[in-house]
Amino acid sequence: MKVSAVITLKKDVLDPQGKVIHETLDGMGFNSVNEVRQGKYFEIDVKENDPKKAKDLVEDMCKKLLANLVIENYKIIETQ
């Protein structure tokens, strides 16, 4: 079963890359952007067919390795 997780920086953490991307978009004429925050996306294929168990497994991975909870939040977005 495939599980997807998105890791984003917490609100108060400075995201210089997001800022530069925002400025570049601005320079390209995309003037309606309020803010850009860059994150990470993981697609994990686990040997597990139960959606709840698969989700719990990836959540554990997020807590222990994929995200650093001092600065990042994680969200399991879909299982298929």
Partner: protein, 227 residues
């Protein structure tokens, strides 16, 4: 005195550290990341470099390697552990010192000499050091020290800030801050002060004709403190 330097895949300051420790009288051993047990040591050093190519987050993979279980146990039982640059990033990812190291504020890799102010000398690393400002070298892309407000309060209450970026006279301010670190923090201790993580490289300042001698001062003092 015995020391061990851990080599991770992608470490590149491990041999410099070996040279520095040996020069000032440590009997040093190199330890591979996949080993399970540490040799008997008075000091463990996690060196600089780019362990695992900085994949995911700097230091995150290395912090889960086999030898780290022994390093964590060694630290928790009061053993001296020092992480330099990528070693500092590994220490924060392993949870041995608080906070994280973010990308430098202006997104540039910084490679230059800096001055650091030693604030807390009530610990084995800096006790009896007769200089307050040291000149070290930094070379990093992710050295921007960050922690939550609650962590910062705890760090300050426990005197855990080891060194600050400063000018040559010891003044700290935003202009002298190379990477955007909170409060100009360049190095930090754990609560018990037996674990030190810092971005600057003392091992690059051990030859008068090539660099400067402030690294020599640091290592000589450290050896005397451990004896």
């Amino acid at each position: 005195m015995k020391s061990s330097v851990i080599t991770f895949p992608g470490s590149n300051c491990d041999r410099d550290m070996d040279v520095a420790l040996t020069k000032f009288g440590f009997k040093n051993k190199m330890v591979w990341h996949n080993d399970q047990e540490l040799p008997k040591s008075d000091l463990i050093v996690l060196p600089g470099g780019f362990s695992y190519g900085d994949y995911l987050r700097c230091g995150s993979m290395a912090s889960k390697s086999k030898i780290m279980n022994s390093v964590i146990n060694f630290a928790k039982s009061g053993g001296l552990v020092m992480g330099i640059c990528n070693g500092f990033q590994i220490l924060v990812e392993a949870g041995l010192v608080p906070g994280v190291l973010l990308r430098n504020k202006y997104l540039q890799f910084i490679c230059k000499n800096v001055h650091v102010k030693v604030d807390n000398k009530e610990n084995t690393f800096f006790k009896n050091l007769d200089k307050k400002v040291l000149e070290f070298h930094i070379a990093h892309n992710e050295g921007n020290y960050f922690c939550t407000n609650n962590q910062l309060k705890e760090i300050e209450d426990n005197n855990q800030i080891a060194i600050y970026y400063c000018d040559q006279n010891g003044n700290t301010n935003d202009q002298i801050n190379p990477n955007g670190s909170i409060k100009n923090i360049a190095g930090i201790f754990n609560k018990e002060k037996n674990v030190l993580g810092m971005m600057p490289h003392p091992e690059r300042m051990i030859d008068e004709s090539l660099s400067g001698e402030d690294g020599s001062i640091f290592f000589k003092n450290l050896l005397n403190n451990i004896k």
